[in-house]
């Protein structure tokens, strides 16, 4: 009924957009459903990092090659930090006292640098073996 009221309020020429928006919404929901279903089937391994004063703890994470994994970054400072890795194409702000989850992989063996973009002296590496 609410949808009918909204539809009646809209000029006739706009009907097409409403239909298109609904179709796009359905496609997006189907995509999300399929993605969530496949993600639940394989829960990724998790690794933890803390940002403490001007450094990461640990500064080096060992991760197996070829798997999807998450890194939980906990910011123990009062001020915001930004977990960033140009080589891994990730950039995510973590406010003071909070934590974030970064989804990564699968990666090939190598050393991948990350840093705090707000305090670039704080650096670390994900070492994929």
């Amino acid at each position: 009924m609410i949808l009918q009221i909204i539809r009646n309020m809209l000029p006739a020429g706009i009907e097409g957009v409403a239909i298109m928006a609904r179709r796009l919404a359905v496609i997006a929901l189907l995509f999300l459903y399929a993605s969530v279903a496949s993600a639940r089937a394989q829960e990724p391994a998790n690794f933890n990092i803390a940002i403490k004063e001007h450094h990461f703890e640990p500064a080096e994470l060992d991760v197996p090659a070829g798997i999807k994994f998450t890194v939980t970054v906990k910011n123990l400072n009062d001020t915001a930090a930004e977990f960033e890795s140009t080589v891994l194409n990730r950039e995510k702000v973590v406010v003071g006292g909070a934590s974030i989850t970064v989804y990564l992989g699968p990666l090939t063996p190598g050393s991948y640098e990350f840093f705090n973009d707000f305090d670039p002296d704080a650096r670390g590496h994900i070492v994929v073996k």
Binding site: I6, I27, A28, F31, T86, R90
Partner: protein
């Protein structure tokens, strides 16, 4: 994040029931830079031996800010000069990018884009452009050891208000690039504009452009980040200019 983004997505889908095709060449990415302010310039100019399609220029300046981890609004100022005509202030546009999934969590990253374009001239109609943004990171593509990034935009348009027409154009943008180095990422991109997807019988003169692009970013850490994109697009049919150069320059800084 997903709940908030989902609510915003639904609200925008309803509001979208209020949008023209803009033939600009700009790739929208579904990942939000939370708490980052940005100033961005996009430009394009066409080349063709037909005077009616030569030197078609478009320039924009955009100001944006990542208000939440899932929403970035931007204000865009559009300038254009049609072939053989003077510069005009074309439109003021309110853009919104919504990040719907965490980057890397699912098979692909999903976002939603919606903008309201207010025409500067009373003779032109306002417009809404909206649609999904999909990005797929494919690491070690085909066992080559190369990481690749693929982005797809599917934006539907609708004119609203005075002097509108009832066509429903669709703009398709595709970009695939090699993540060789943050400063230099070569790739290929495609831009297609279909004039009316709501009425296939009136679907005429779609335009298709494809060509190489380079994308890069230079991190100055606490002083911000500079990003660029530069591409050359070749027209694939008679309705499209022979060539178009497009570029993008962006400066962003976290606050």
């Amino acid at each position: 994040m997903r709940v908030g983004a989902g609510i915003a997505f639904c609200l925008v889908s309803l509001l979208l029931s209020y949008a023209p095709a803009r033939a600009d060449f700009e790739m929208h990415y579904p990942v939000i830079d939370y708490r980052e302010a940005e100033i961005e310039h996009n430009g394009s100019t066409s080349f063709d031996n037909r005077s009616s399609m030569n030197n078609n220029q478009s320039y924009t300046i955009e100001l944006g800010y990542g208000v939440t981890p899932w929403w970035e609004p931007e204000l865009e100022f559009d300038l254009a000069a049609a072939p053989g005509q003077n510069w005009n202030y074309n439109a003021t546009t309110f853009e919104n990018t919504f990040q719907l999934t965490e980057q890397g969590e699912y098979w692909a990253d999903l976002g939603f884009f919606a903008e309201y374009q207010h025409a500067a001239s009373r003779l032109d109609a306002d417009a809404i452009n909206f649609g999904p943004l999909v990005q797929k990171e494919w690491n070690n593509a085909l066992g080559s050891g190369l990481n690749t990034l693929h982005t797809l935009n599917l934006l539907v348009s609708k004119e609203v208000g005075r002097n509108r027409n009832d066509a429903t154009p669709l703009a398709v943008s595709w970009q695939s690039r090699l993540e060789l180095d943050p400063l230099f990422q070569p790739g290929v991109e495609y831009y297609g504009n279909f004039n009316n997807i709501a009425g296939p019988t009136t679907m005429s003169d779609p335009t298709h452009r494809i060509g190489p692009v380079i994308v890069g970013a230079y991190n100055m850490y606490q002083y911000g980040k500079l990003k660029y994109e530069a591409g050359y697009l070749v027209g694939l049919n008679n309705a499209t200019e022979r060539g178009t150069i497009r570029w993008r320059l962006e400066y962003e800084k976290s606050f």
